[in-house]
């Protein structure tokens, strides 16, 4: 079956460094993707989204890149801060929302 997945389950970065979290998807018909951040004890929080007619979208300190050729999505966080520590999920919208397992980002001071 088709699925959304993440390459790495954990990522540890130094405070101030840039973080890159990756996601692979296998449904070429997906036309909308979302990145979520989930802190301990809370529901997922929308970070940024991108449609399939775009390659890149930037927000505040975050950038999402979409490579449709290899069905790959990434989230870049600039100048990572301790408050960025959380689990990050990518999701694809195919009418319903399908999620990867998540990547835990840990920021070291």
């Amino acid at each position: 079956g088709e699925s959304v997945g993440l390459h790495l389950p954990t990522l540890s970065v130094q405070e101030g460094d840039n973080s890159i979290i990756n996601c692979a998807y296998s449904n070429s018909a997906s036309d909308y993707f979302i990145w979520y951040k989930q802190e301990s004890g809370k529901g997922p929080q929308f970070i940024i989204d991108i449609r399939s007619n775009m390659d890149k979208r930037q927000g505040q300190r975050v950038t999402v890149l979409l490579n449709k050729t290899v069905k790959h999505l990434s989230l870049q966080i600039a100048a990572t801060q301790p408050g960025d520590s959380a689990v990050y999920f990518c999701a694809e919208n195919m009418g319903d929302m399908r999620f990867g397992a998540g990547t835990r980002l840990t920021v070291k001071p």
Binding site: I34, G43, F46, F89, M97, G100, A101
Partner: protein
Amino acid sequence: DVKVTQSSRYLVKRTGEKVFLECVQDMDHENMFWYRQDPGLGLRLIYFSYDVKMKEKGDIPEGYSVSREKKERFSLILESASTNQTSMYLCASLRETQYFGPGTRLLVL
């Protein structure tokens, strides 16, 4: 701001009990979702609804049912709770972007 609220943050029930989890959104969204989240498995879709009185099965509907009598309210029902339904339950609503509630942590003894 979109608000998605869930009736309980924590719930303890006994095996065999009937359990109702309520979700309310205040943004007139047509689409609503119920997920469960378990360590290492990410978010798995239980049921979703496109409109009042409409429901669609997700990936793991067994042991659950849903009710959508009003647009703003989507209820998840565990007809006879079992210990393997101990989990974090997340409700979400969607128009262009999906918004999550804070989650209900259910423990079935």
